[in-house]
């Protein structure tokens, strides 16, 4: 578990935690302001899905410290994270764990998160276990390391690249 001091120092954008799991190069490019997401159809699709999914459930989106944007399930006090596909579930899990930890640092206590993959009708509950917190701490330290690199990390063409918004930049 991170100390409060370390958390203060490592505090970052939630999406970076996600990218750290997915691809270090993607994280580096994103951190340098080279953002490709607005161009990607797939990202647009994800946003649309996010807006349309679960219309009956009362939810509230909150932007905190301009760093994390959480989607709160009002009735259950759960933090929701909706993803297009479970392929990158580990990235989504850590991103959600980060939100939970962040909220706890702000004094919100022990919250529970839920990952949802509406296309696949899957859900997964996420709680901050010591093990998950350990992985989160590693990710946060990793994010900072990658951001400080003076050149982008090398990358290999993997199946993730096929759906990545940076694909044309990396491989075109």
């Amino acid at each position: 578990m991170l100390s409060y001091e370390e958390f203060e120092r490592l505090r970052t954008n939630g999406i970076k935690v996600n990218y750290w799991v997915v691809c270090h190069r993607k994280l580096w490019l994103f951190a340098k302001g080279l953002r490709m997401e607005p161009l990607s159809d797939r990202v647009a699709l994800g946003q649309l899905m996010h807006e349309r999914a679960y219309p009956g459930t009362p939810r509230r989106e909150i932007l905190i410290d301009k760093l994390i944007k959480i989607d709160l399930l009002e009735s259950e006090g759960k933090v929701l994270e909706i993803k297009y596909s479970h392929k990158l579930a580990e990235a989504a899990r850590l991103q959600l764990a980060y939100y939970l930890a962040y909220l706890r640092w702000l004094g919100a206590g022990e919250l529970v998160g839920e990952l949802r993959f509406p296309r696949e009708r899957r859900r997964e509950e996420v709680r901050l276990t010591p093990e998950l917190e350990g992985r989160l701490a590693e990710a946060l330290r990793g994010v900072q390391q990658v951001e400080q690199l003076s050149a982008p990390p090398s990358a290999e063409s993997t199946t993730i690249c096929r759906v990545c918004a940076y694909r044309e930049l990396c491989w075109g």
Binding site: L29, K32, G33, E168, G172
Partner: protein
């Protein structure tokens, strides 16, 4: 899919709620309104006399639409390039660093010229294989290409390119069936039909390149081959060098040789020595230009079809990769 909209008529462009309208009074005094779906608009080209206000510009900026204006004679006047929302301070620093270091600048500029000359040679070879006498020009371009690596400054590079281009333009007399021999390239104002077509085509390409640059985080005012002071968006000049022979020149050869545009499509205005494309021909040119940009080729690395227009975007990405030290820039060499 984002599109370019070309407006040749005169009238008013207006924002009404969240829709863009082109309004025009018809002959019987009725106001005709044509809605243009803003989410489909990449950029707008205004050739007619169009009224617009800042409310409209605000709307275009919100939707990240660039606007390119041409005057009555079809000369490019300027662009409305909305404030960029998607900037990278890091990339800007890198762009400047590569400009300030003469070696780094030369390396990039050389690739722009190499790509341009490669395509000049490709055009000449194409016509040589069809029996045209272009050997002399071809030799000059070849030798310029070979000398590029010895160029120690951007100025030398420029003069090498100039030499190759002169020779290339000489070959136009072989490639095109002209009544008057084509002597040399003259801009502002162009002094003959071929120059007029080249000028018009180049400004269309320049604006298309600018629109592609807009979606990247590259700063279009920092350039390597041209001096950044040469034009406001001189990086668009740099990049379009590579594509001019590939797109504009090919189009001109085709239009003239098939007789789709001929002497009757030009006029001189008053005393001014200049040859202006008549509106009908301008429309035709714009239409084939747009079609041409949409033609696709199979991309070897991406393993899918990409349009010529998209190749311009990919060129910008390659430059970004060079600047942030992912991969050394190698300009496009048409492989198809």
């Amino acid at each position: 899919m984002a599109q370019s909209y070309y407006i040749f008529r005169s009238g008013r462009l207006r924002r009404k709620q969240n829709t863009l309208y082109f309004e025009q009074e018809s002959e019987d005094g009725q106001l005709q309104k044509v809605p243009i779906p803003i989410e489909n608009v990449r950029d707008l080209y205004l050739f007619g006399e169009i009224d617009l206000n800042t409310k409209l510009l605000t709307f275009l900026a919100q939707n990240e639409v660039t606007l390119h204006c041409f005057n009555y004679y079809g000369f490019y006047i300027g662009s409305f390039y909305p404030r960029e929302t998607n900037v990278s301070g890091y990339l800007l620093v890198k762009q400047v660093e590569h400009y300030l270091d003469p070696q780094k600048r030369l390396e990039i500029a050389k690739e722009f010229v190499a790509g341009a000359l490669f395509h000049l040679r490709r055009n000449l070879n194409y016509y040589r294989n069809r029996g045209r006498e272009v050997d002399v020009s071809l030799e000059v371009v070849e030798s310029s290409l070979k000398r590029l690596n010895e160029c120690g400054s951007v100025a030398e590079l420029m003069s090498e390119e100039g030499r190759a281009r002169d020779a290339y333009y000489q070959a136009f007399n072989e490639i095109l069936e002209l009544q008057q021999p084509y002597t040399k390239r003259v801009r502002r104002p162009p002094d003959n039909e071929v120059n007029s077509l080249i000028s018009f085509g180049n400004s269309l390409l320049y604006t298309a390149t600018l629109s592609e640059l807009y979606v990247t985080q590259l700063n279009p005012t920092i350039s390597y081959l041209h001096e950044p002071s040469q034009r406001r968006f001189s990086l668009a000049l740099d990049l379009s060098e590579i594509f001019k022979p590939l797109i504009v020149d090919r189009l001109i050869f085709r239009l003239l040789n098939r007789g789709e545009i001929d002497e009757n499509d030009f006029e001189s205005i008053g005393e001014a020595k200049g040859v202006y494309l008549k509106e009908g021909a301008r429309k035709k040119f714009v239409r084939v230009f747009e079609e041409y940009l949409q033609t696709t080729v199979k991309h070897r690395r991406l393993k899918r079809h990409v349009s010529y227009r998209h190749l311009i975007r990919l060129e910008a990405y390659k430059l970004i990769k060079h600047l942030v030290n992912i991969e050394t820039y190698k300009s496009l060499r048409a492989w198809w």
